[in-house]
Symmetry: C2
Subunit: 86 residues, 2 copies
């Protein structure tokens, strides 16, 4: 069993209006030092397999097919064996 | 200058219908080994300050006030000095 932690981020060359809106809100709240806000997704899931290579391969497929949109998003993930301290 | 990477996750005791929907979709696509899908947010931003303690304090305030909803969400972040290799 592996716990997967996946970060999905919008590619650098793609506009991020949600990030821009949050940046404006931060400035309105007095956090003038914040800039370059980009918003993505963070996913955690459990994979019921004991083979790390298989888990990585399958998780890549999940990202390509469903979890991320590879046209406008990048993804990276880490696999932690379930039960291990993080 | 620091680059902040913030992970916002739904607290364990709070239902995550979006995660449930994605889990169902993964199963439909043949990824039967996936379970316990939880979906959160991932934010990247730049902080224009050179004092790590100040950056941490201000970023905590940003999370409490805007980036996360502390009633139903947890957050964790890391600060990387801008220009450092990740």
């Amino acid at each position: 069993m592996f716990v997967a932690r996946v970060q999905v981020t919008i590619k650098e060359e793609v506009l991020d209006p949600q990030g821009k809106a949050v940046e404006g809100a931060l400035h309105s709240l007095g956090f003038e030092e914040a800039s370059g806000v980009r918003i993505g997704k963070f996913l955690e899931l459990t994979l019921n397999t004991d083979d790390r290579a298989v888990a990585e391969e399958r998780l890549s497929q999940m990202c390509e097919k469903l979890l991320a949109n590879p046209v406008i998003e990048d993804y990276e993930f880490e696999l932690v064996e379930a039960g291990e301290a993080r």
